[in-house]
Symmetry: C3
Subunit: 183 residues, 3 copies
Amino acid sequence: MKIYTKTGDKGTTSLIYGTRVSKNDKRVEAYGTCDETNSMIGLALSYLNGEYFSGKEEMQEIFHKIQTALFHVGAELATPSGKNVKWTLEEKDIEELEAKIDAWDAALPQLTNFILPGGHQAGAAMHVARTVARRAERQAVELGEEVNPLVLSYLNRLSDFLFVAARYVNMHLGSKEQTLHQN
Amino acid sequence: MKIYTKTGDKGTTSLIYGTRVSKNDKRVEAYGTCDETNSMIGLALSYLNGEYFSGKEEMQEIFHKIQTALFHVGAELATPSGKNVKWTLEEKDIEELEAKIDAWDAALPQLTNFILPGGHQAGAAMHVARTVARRAERQAVELGEEVNPLVLSYLNRLSDFLFVAARYVNMHLGSKEQTLHQN
Amino acid sequence: MKIYTKTGDKGTTSLIYGTRVSKNDKRVEAYGTCDETNSMIGLALSYLNGEYFSGKEEMQEIFHKIQTALFHVGAELATPSGKNVKWTLEEKDIEELEAKIDAWDAALPQLTNFILPGGHQAGAAMHVARTVARRAERQAVELGEEVNPLVLSYLNRLSDFLFVAARYVNMHLGSKEQTLHQN
Ligand code: B12
Ligand code: B12
Ligand code: B12
Ligand SMILES: C[C@H]1O[C@@H](n2cnc3c(N)ncnc32)[C@H](O)[C@@H]1O
Ligand SMILES: C[C@H]1O[C@@H](n2cnc3c(N)ncnc32)[C@H](O)[C@@H]1O
Ligand SMILES: C[C@H]1O[C@@H](n2cnc3c(N)ncnc32)[C@H](O)[C@@H]1O
Ligand SMILES: [Mg+2]
Ligand SMILES: [Mg+2]
Ligand SMILES: [Mg+2]
């Protein structure tokens, strides 16, 4: 099968189960933005290649699970209301994020103010991914009652995870946190 | 002429031929997102500098044409309905994308499942560009009857091109494709 | 205090002063996109590490101020109408951008056509940041009368600043500007 089918050239596409919708449907918008979040995470991970720090493999492993879970989030969003979701998100996906947030946060200096997004390329791209995850969350919220509440919790926790992951990676790869400019 | 004119400080701007519109006009949204796609492609290309693989120059040449074509897409979107478009998109721009998709896809392992976006920085950034191109497509769809159908076909094919290009670059730069996490 | 409070898991959040709103509120959309702009600037800056050119420290200093100012823009957008804004944007924040645009532009070849976004990673990422800043501007415009006019001017100037900064960095880091493809 060819990657391109041209069936979507007139602005419509299909959800899981084949329901045709416009490409500007709220569901398409929401899972499209999960795909964007996932891709930005992929870019962040690309910067870990060639870098070494204790806990790096563990970090890669959890990111592997997150990238997979984002396809489950996508399946939740791409399944029309009332139909069975084939790839489901689980409560434990969220708990895994929380466990890592707690563990990493304990190793980081406590914050009482905003920090400037940036640092090592990997950390900086995680900050970007954080803001794209928040955009995906905003678009999932647009679906209102039609969205599985686990999707909203997952995306909400994901952006907090990405904040802590960015800080953690920056700490390990020697990038000092920058605070707001004083003048 | 200064880059900044301050004429847009109150939230309006002009299309080609000078028609004033709000900056949140659907056309501005759509060509603004083409500009974002173009810029993300520029970031992806920046990672090819210093890398070598057979076919790299050919890839850079087609990306040069794509970046140019995105200005033609932009001109289509920035021209008010009923006016003559000065920079037109051509059927052959789409055919060129298809030819490259076919050629590169033939060299790649066939897929029967999703792959995780990521890999070498260049491939990873092409995945991000792919998702931004899809966002641009969704916004062009918002224009409905007012958009040249070639624009929709071009953006649709462009995201498939970027998918295959990402895989192709990753194969050549030694990044193994990752599949969904099994647990 | 934990980073994650779970209070936003149902799709609402709070502005400054605690007003609860939906996460797809126009204000949240606008300051969320400022956060995305800020993060993309952070990624661009990460590529300056390890590079040397005359004026680099000055560039980092102004970007430090810009990243800070974006939190002031965020505070303007996150404060409900009629309430006192605690972090205010100043006319001089805009003037500083203009001064740098003028200084750098004078050192650059004059343009009579579009250039392709790209170049050195730092310059290429500044082009991406430029397009995200323009998206933030479009969303701030959505707020209509409710937005401080300085916010619109700042975001408008910021994208012009990022254009000139991208060119300036590319000139210094040896990346030739590419023009549209001729064929
Ligand atoms: C929703 C969806 C997406 C979503 C996300 C999916 C998610 N769960 O989050 C997003 C937006 C990310 C997406 C992206 C893409 N998708 Co898609 N997607 C779908 C859709 C509508 C449902 C897939 C799904 O989630 N099913 C739920 C699972 C549980 O059910 P399933 O039926 O077993 O799904 C399997 C296959 O659909 C898929 N699969 C099978 N063969 C192939 C081949 C390819 C190349 C890919 C990528 C996937 C794929 O693997 C799934 C798991 O086994 C299908 C069409 C359809 N109606 O089925 C297209 C579909 C799978 N997608 C397709 C394509 C081309 C893509 C993109 C390459 C588009 C692009 N240019 O970006 C990317 C690839 C992304 C990647 N990283 O690999 C094509 C594949 C065509 C082919 N066989 O070559 C399909 C069939 C649509 C079509 N054109 O008809 N997609
Ligand atoms: C649509 C548009 C865009 C679109 C895309 C265009 C597209 N086709 O996809 C997008 C959003 C990408 C864009 C971006 C920018 N644009 Co613009 N754009 C326009 C607009 C409305 C039409 C241009 C067009 O496509 N014309 C169609 C072609 C066929 O007709 P043309 O008249 O021959 O167009 C030529 C010139 O307009 C342009 N040109 C001439 N002098 C200069 C100088 C500069 C600095 C640039 C960038 C372009 C430029 O080159 C074109 C080809 O020859 C014009 C204003 C207008 N009403 O004309 C502004 C205009 C060209 N843009 C302008 C600016 C400042 C920019 C940005 C720097 C803004 C920013 N901060 O991001 C970027 C630069 C991007 C880049 N890579 O170079 C200014 C240039 C001012 C100047 N002379 O210095 C203009 C004149 C608007 C204004 N302020 O009055 N733009
Ligand atoms: C608007 C806002 C944002 C905006 C931008 C702010 C702006 N001005 O542009 C954006 C979207 C960028 C943002 C992002 C984040 N935010 Co916020 N944000 C707020 C909010 C609503 C107002 C903050 C503000 O601007 N106040 C204006 C200033 C002048 O008043 P202030 O009261 O003195 O503000 C101070 C504190 O609020 C803040 N602060 C104090 N302790 C902490 C701890 C942390 C971890 C952080 C990040 C900030 C922070 O520092 C400010 C300056 O001194 C507050 C909640 C609230 N209602 O106050 C949450 C709040 C500060 N944010 C919070 C969080 C968790 C985050 C993020 C980590 C979320 C994420 N996963 O991305 C990021 C961090 C970004 C960063 N770079 O550091 C939490 C902090 C919880 C904690 N104490 O650990 C708060 C309290 C919301 C909550 N959950 O209850 N935020
Ligand atoms: C830290 C602050 O970020 C805001 N906030 C909460 N969720 C989102 C989101 N998805 N996108 C943008 N901003 C958000 C709230 O105002 C919160 O208090
Ligand atoms: C691969 C799947 O991606 C979805 N799809 C098609 N076009 C877009 C777009 N512009 N943005 C987001 N998702 C899209 C459809 O559901 C398709 O089947
Ligand atoms: C250079 C051109 O970019 C367009 N323009 C002006 N402001 C924005 C924005 N925030 N987003 C996208 N496009 C914009 C106008 O058409 C201007 O003439
Ligand atoms: Mg949250
Ligand atoms: Mg498509
Ligand atoms: Mg402007």
